[in-house]
Amino acid sequence: MPRVGVLALQGDVREHTASLQRLGIEPLLVKTPEQLALVDALVLPGGESTAIAHLLITSGLREPLQERLNSGMPAFGTCAGLIALSSEVLDGRADQWSFHALDVSVRRNGYGRQVASFETPVELSTGDLVPGVFIRAPRIERFGDSVEVLATHDHGDGAHPVLVRQGAVWGCSFHPELTSNTVIHEIFVKAL
């Protein structure tokens, strides 16, 4: 079984850890390049994308993680994690960077500020219905030809992807880890 890590610089690390534990996986928390070298796949949690981007640099993780992603390491990012994996960030800081591991353009807070944060059921292409918790969520506004859309949500202005995959890299606008439903984590883990 591949060793799964959770990027543990900031955010809802505990919830992702609990979701993986429900599937019988004991993840390794990753805060350093040495810890990154020990994992075969990485979950990038929800949190504040600018803070996580800053901490990736100060912790010496940006370059080694970029190299691992370039060489095909499986990764799964939710919310801020999706922003970090994306190829373009709209409405971000002027100097906001990302890993370009997932060919999508995401708009930060694309569904609004906190008072607009919402919950709604999301139907996956597998037919599963999962709870969708969207918190200051990024909106996927463009996706490349090689990106597979596994779920969409229509917020009153047309359907936008909310769960996508490009090869071994997965991104989700919402937070499956904030619920006890582990369907999406299970799909990621089974594909490893």
Binding site: K31, E48, T50, R113, Q114, E123, I135, G156
Partner: protein, 298 residues
């Protein structure tokens, strides 16, 4: 795959507590203008608290401290991409209504401002925007959660640069949680009475061994070592008020506290970021204070 057009349910407990979860392991910084907000975001803050005066200046100036001018809050919202919080007075639900209308991301019903109601806190369930409230002990924390608070922070003694009160509050809350875990079910009724806290919340804490919402630390954090201390004592994130912009080198202090908060278990990292930082804020000995802000709130 079908797509259901809907705007979902807003203001649920899960999305309100969920934002607090996203801030865990981070630093929330008090800022009084857009320039400070920019410095905070550049340093890796997970959120800023927009207010007109930091607590040490409120303490120095005296008088009635109120909600900040909406213009100043809006200028900060326009400057940063991270969540913007703002403070209302205890019990002043009209200030909270204004802050919600301004689209702030979190309201701090705060003892740092002059209380508006000596009996009641705001009924926070009726709001879409989530609230954080201060607490000095478990009973106070559970009363606030019972009123709808989605995040609890230690009160500490704001504006003093002295960590001693925050440590007392964190230890007091966590000791009381351990006591509940040791109690049998019959004992929880009397313990809820002693704590002056709602029984269902007492039972929930006894079963889970933690608060149902995140527990952050505020009040007196002024150095990277302070942040490492309170995280090891069980705080899940830190608020830094006067400690950054009253220090010699705010940009470096802000970055250092952010790094120490992430790597709090690695003393070598905390040592590195603490080196050559310049003076932290001067601070006050809390035993000699005339006004103890932590005594506000009921």
């Amino acid at each position: 795959m079908t797509s259901h057009e809907n705007s979902g349910s807003i203001g649920t407990a899960r999305v309100k507590r969920g934002l607090a979860d996203m801030l865990r392991g981070g630093v929330i910084m008090d800022v009084v203008n857009p320039e400070q907000a920019r410095i905070a975001e550049d340093a890796g803050a997970v959120a800023v608290m927009a207010l007109e005066r930091v607590p040490s200046d409120i303490r120095r100036d005296g008088g009635v401290a109120r909600m900040s001018d909406p213009q100043m809050i809006q200028e900060i919202q326009a400057t940063v991409t991270i969540p913007v919080m703002a403070k209302s007075r205890i019990g002043h639900f009209a200030e909270a209504q204004i802050l919600q209308a301004l689209d702030v991301d979190y309201i701090d019903e705060s003892e740092v401002l002059t209380p508006a109601d000596e009996v009641n806190h705001i009924d926070k369930w009726g709001f879409t925007v989530p609230f954080v409230c201060g607490a000095t002990n478990l009973g106070e924390a559970l009363r606030r959660i019972g009123e709808g608070a989605c995040m609890i922070r230690s009160k500490g003694e704001a504006g003093t640069g002295n960590i001693v009160e925050a440590v007392r509050h964190l230890r007091t809350i966590n000791q009381a949680i351990r006591m509940l875990q040791l109690a049998d079910e019959a004992e929880l009724y009397a313990m809820a009475k002693d704590l002056q806290a709602p029984l269902p919340l007492v039972q929930e804490v006894a079963a889970a061994g933690k608060l149902p919402v995140p527990l952050f630390c505020a009040g007196g954090i002024s150095t990277p070592a302070d942040a490492a201390l309170v995280l090891q004592l069980g705080a899940e994130a830190v608020f830094v008020g006067s400690g950054i912009f009253k220090s010699d080198d705010p940009e470096r202090m802000a970055k250092a506290i952010v790094e120490a908060t992430t790597h709090y278990q690695d003393a070598a990292v905390v040592a590195r970021v603490s080196t050559g930082l310049g003076a932290a804020m001067k601070g006050f000995e809390t035993a000699t204070l005339e006004q103890r802000l932590s005594e506000r709130g009921w």
